[in-house]
Symmetry: C2
Subunit: 150 residues, 2 copies
């Protein structure tokens, strides 16, 4: 029922908080975690619109992927030491689309997602990515809410 | 982390499906379940608008509560036999408001809810009650999606 978890992360605080829930589901039969990090195409679109050169953007994208790889490798170690089988995926694209596409291909038992990403901290209730994923996904989804602002 | 679960139900198929997830969380440390059934004030408002008499509505409400009590008693037995401590609550009101109010008072570790209720089967992606609860609640919420239509 919770065997295979899809855990999308943009390394925000709330995504980290969500990871704790993933870990806790081990006891309820969770065995496998797919850590998915999306390098946000929307940022690339923005850079292009602001006149940044393709080659500089490619440099940024490479850097973003490197940072991503390090961060997911750290999570992988953590989850593996708790006994999970882990798959890590880093992709460039529009986050909700990539997440939903991954759901289609991997058919996870559950998606665990933070309510807000790093790029929509100002949204009051629910970020646009998680909102779209909740609406469109087929698997049950656990939404971990942002802590109330200090 | 999953100690106390708030489980709102309108006895729809998808709410029943959600109950299976509640049960599975026992292994991950869940101990207590609050089963909450709301007699929908919106239906009463509708009956009033259509000219039904207050005393007939009161009869309907009493009947709806009775049916509710039987259904939650059945769930209570089921959950208790799995080792949960169970609290059952039946209230009249606007479902999302009652659920959010209950969250405020009980501070559950998790809300487990179906994506659609019985009164919004036509909504394509997400029913209005679950949508409002997801947006406004503070606790993590597990949304169990409706099975695709046959």
């Amino acid at each position: 029922m919770f065997r295979k978890i899809l855990y999308p992360t943009d390394f925000s605080d709330v995504a980290e908080k969500a990871l704790n829930y993933v870990k806790q589901l081990k006891e309820a039969g969770s065995q496998e975690v797919i850590i998915l990090h999306v390098v946000n195409q929307r940022i690339i679109d923005g850079l292009l619109r602001h006149g940044m050169l393709e080659k500089d953007i490619e440099g940024w994208r490479t850097k973003a992927k490197e940072v991503g790889h390090e961060a997911v490798a750290e999570m992988r170690r953590e989850l593996e030491s708790s006994g999970f089988t882990v798959q890590t995926v880093i992709k460039t694209g529009y986050p909700a689309d990539v997440i939903l596409d991954m759901e289609k291909r991997e058919a996870p038992s559950l998606i665990v997602i933070g309510s807000h990403g790093r790029t929509n901290l100002s949204d009051m209730f629910l970020g646009s990515v998680s909102q779209r994923v909740i609406r469109k996904c087929k698997a049950p989804v656990m939404v971990v809410k942002r802590d109330p602002k200090a």
